[in-house]
Structures are given as structure tokens and as C-alpha cells.
Symmetry: C2
């Protein structure tokens, strides 16, 4: 990835649904699409579309068993990444306005 495409990578983590999917996989190991849908109360095609994005850059892997496709997190790189963010946020974003979205005042 040329340096100027960093943002494409971060983009993958920049939506709530994909983050939720990642959390599910982090907690539960390996899940098929239906399981993810149920766990999140989200629609199948929506989840599939988003899994595709995650798959694209090896944030998740997939392996098929019969009719099902089991997705799992690429923990090697993703877990440390999330940890790093946690640390930053812990130290620097204590009262930062990440949550309140009304306006970026």
C-alpha cells in the first residue's frame, strides 16, 4: 500500500457496524454470517457487504464448512491495533468529544 493509501485502511474501522462485527469475532472466535446477524440484530446482506470489506484487507479470514462460511478475526495484527487505540484514548481522550456528535465545537 503506498503511504498515501493509509486512509483506505483506517476507513475499514471507521464504521460502527464493522467495529461491532470485529468485536463479535474477537469475543466469539469464529462465527458464520447468520450468527453474526443474529448477535447484532442486523440484516444479512448488510453484514455480508461489510464482511467483504473486512476480508479484502485480511482483517478477517473466512473458511467454508458446507453451507456456512465461518469468519474469524486476524488477531495477530488487529488485537494489538485495538489495544493501541485503547491506550491512546485512555490517556488523551478522557473528556474528548468523540461520543457527542451534535457538533464538533
Amino acid at each position: 500500500m503506498p503511504e498515501n493509501h493509509y486512509h483506505r485502511f483506517f476507513e475499514l474501522f471507521a464504521t460502527p457496524l464493522r467495529i461491532e462485527i470485529i468485536k463479535q469475532l474477537k469475543d466469539n472466535g469464529s462465527m458464520n454470517v447468520t450468527q453474526i446477524c443474529q448477535a447484532l440484530g442486523e440484516e444479512q446482506s448488510k453484514v455480508s457487504h461489510n464482511l467483504k470489506r473486512l476480508l479484502m484487507c485480511n482483517i478477517v479470514r473466512v473458511n467454508q464448512r458446507g453451507n456456512f462460511r465461518y469468519y474469524e478475526l486476524n488477531k495477530d495484527t488487529i488485537l494489538p491495533l485495538l489495544q493501541l487505540i485503547d491506550r491512546h484514548v485512555e490517556t488523551w481522550c478522557k473528556e474528548c468529544q468523540l461520543e457527542r456528535r451534535r457538533k464538533w465545537v
Copy 2:
């Protein structure tokens, strides 16, 4: 930041301009707005708007000298973060389609 706001953080790195700004600050240490604008050939208000987003979550800091506001990167957390991404990309995204945006096939 509650866990479910991760994406707000990543969002900050998910645009080419902000990445360019970050790279400038990484390379040049401390720059005022005009310098950044010139370095990137971008418009002032555009840059200011984006710096604001970065400032919000301590990705950059600012300190004022006279009429100028000098921005610098919060290297402690941001550099390791970028490094981590580099590693992931190096290992996993060698021939992944991050750059070609036509379609996510």
C-alpha cells in the same frame, strides 16, 4: 471513549487530506497553518477544518506564537500506530486492492 466509539477515532485517519497533514507534521515537526497549506497546496479553511478534527482527539497539539498557530503531531501514540499499520499492510495487503477503488471486487 466507550468501546462502541472506536470508529470515531479511526474516522480521523480515514481521509487522504488528514493523512497528508499528519505526514507533514511527522516529517517537519511543527508547522503553522499557512505552512501546511503551502506544503500541500490546499486551501486554508479546508486545512483548518481538518486540523480541528485532529485536535479534538489529541492527535495533534497546537501552540500559539503571535499571530501563528503551530501544530505538531502527538508522536507518542500516533507514530507507533502508523508503524503497526505499516506492518499489517506489509504482511497482509501486498496485493490487496486498497488502491484501486473502482470496485471492491
